[in-house]
Amino acid sequence: MKKDNMEAENKYDLARWLAGEMDQDELTAFRNSPGFDDYERIAQMSRDFAVADFDENRILNRIISGKPKTIESRTIPLYRSNLMRVAAVLVIAIGLFFVFRTDIVTEKSGYGKTGSIVLPDHSHVELNSGSEIKYDKSDWNESRKLSLDGEAYFKVAKGKTFDVATDMGTVTVVGTQFNVKSRENRFEVECYEGKVKVTSNGRQTMLTPGMAFISDHGNVSDVAVSDRTKPAWTLGEIQFTSADLSQIASELERRFDIRIEIMSDSEKTLTGTFSATDFKETLELICRFYKLRAETRNNVVILSADE
């Protein structure tokens, strides 16, 4: 064994020592190295750390009986006398607060605006109106993972997996181009280049270029085919794929930074591409499709049935 550079060089040896996997020679050499006493102490002491207790039974019962979690239920552990007393003593006695080093970055684009972001690995993100991404800069090279609320187009630099987490599912990719839309109850992923894996509601779907995944209120529609090479919204267009009136109105609000109120309901869904720059034209086409009348009151566009 190379005794001299035991500490610095061997990336795995400390772990092997900790797991008791070193052979006799290695162990003897390690015991004689200058850092041994410290390592020994760290290993022993770290084993005696603890985290606050976790009441499995209570939580399991609550899940199986289907009782929703309440604010009150969170405070219950305070009254679980023994444990809490012990925990309190421990906390006060030792006062072990420590701060983790992180660097959470939030990027937002407001209504009527779009944004363009370059991530630490030079992956590109274009954010559609009213969207937000968050990621941990300090951890970026370790795991390329960000959370998305809204819609964004990604051009991912080659490398390790790249995860986009949304409320409704996760998209995992390696070096590719794709669009993710996570709005209200609708989740859409479209792949333009490379391969994309979508995990939603515990199901996984693989997308290749030209394929799209759409889930509306948890209903997954068959994977549609798209012939675009970039999402319509990055080209100044608004694209709807079997969208209902309220989804259309929300999208118009975000893209044109306006407020819309719908006084009519319709079950019809709409598929088509509209201008994201000419509000009048887009509104007129949509009104015609749904047989609506539009009027503006106090800066709110009111859509009602056109009798």
Partner: protein, 174 residues
């Protein structure tokens, strides 16, 4: 490309679900604590993940339950938990030392070392800290950690070694 449940049985049986819960819940919850440092949120996210599994029990086969839980928890955590302070208690019933034989100087020095160690653990990278504490506190073997984190055993060993080496360095330089 809708996937059917076909022959996959799911985890709706209460006994099976309870067993999965007992096997996985504490590990998942502690993992979230080590990662984000927020015990209460970690409890919530763990509970939510299991509630969701229970809700969708017919869609999730037993062998997928674990990865389902971690996926749900990681997604929720990314949205809900901001990294923050953690409370790591020191177990008093430690059998390591017998109090009677220790001089006050030794006790003081011991406390000093311990608080440096706690501080240094907080300064580890998330990846190192998670792997290290899963091994030290939960007593997980490297292959178990590898399995949970979806990385290789070599990668776990690298993180553990890295953790030990940074801890020693940091403790030495304060």
């Amino acid at each position: 490309m809708r996937m059917d449940n076909c022959s996959l049985s799911g985890v709706c049986d209460e006994g099976l679900f309870s067993r999965i819960f007992r096997q996985q819940a504490k590990t998942l919850r502690n993992f979230l604590v080590y990662k984000y440092g927020d015990t209460e949120k970690a409890n919530d996210v763990t509970q939510d993940a299991f509630a969701k599994l229970w809700e969708n029990c017919s869609d999730v086969p037993e062998e997928k339950a674990k990865s389902y839980l971690y996926t749900v928890a990681n997604n929720a955590a990314l949205n809900k938990i901001a990294h923050k302070k953690v409370v790591l208690a020191y177990a008093q019933n430690s059998t390591m030392r017998s109090v009677t034989t220790e001089s006050p100087e030794f006790v003081y020095e011991e406390e000093e070392f311990r608080s440096r160690l706690q501080n240094a653990i907080g300064n580890l990278t998330e990846a190192q800290r998670t792997a290290f504490l899963m091994n030290r506190i939960d007593g997980k073997k490297y292959h178990e950690i590898a399995d949970i984190l979806g990385i290789s055993v070599k990668a776990v060993e690298k993180r553990i070694s890295g953790a030990l080496s940074s801890l020693r360095q940091e403790i030495g330089t304060i």
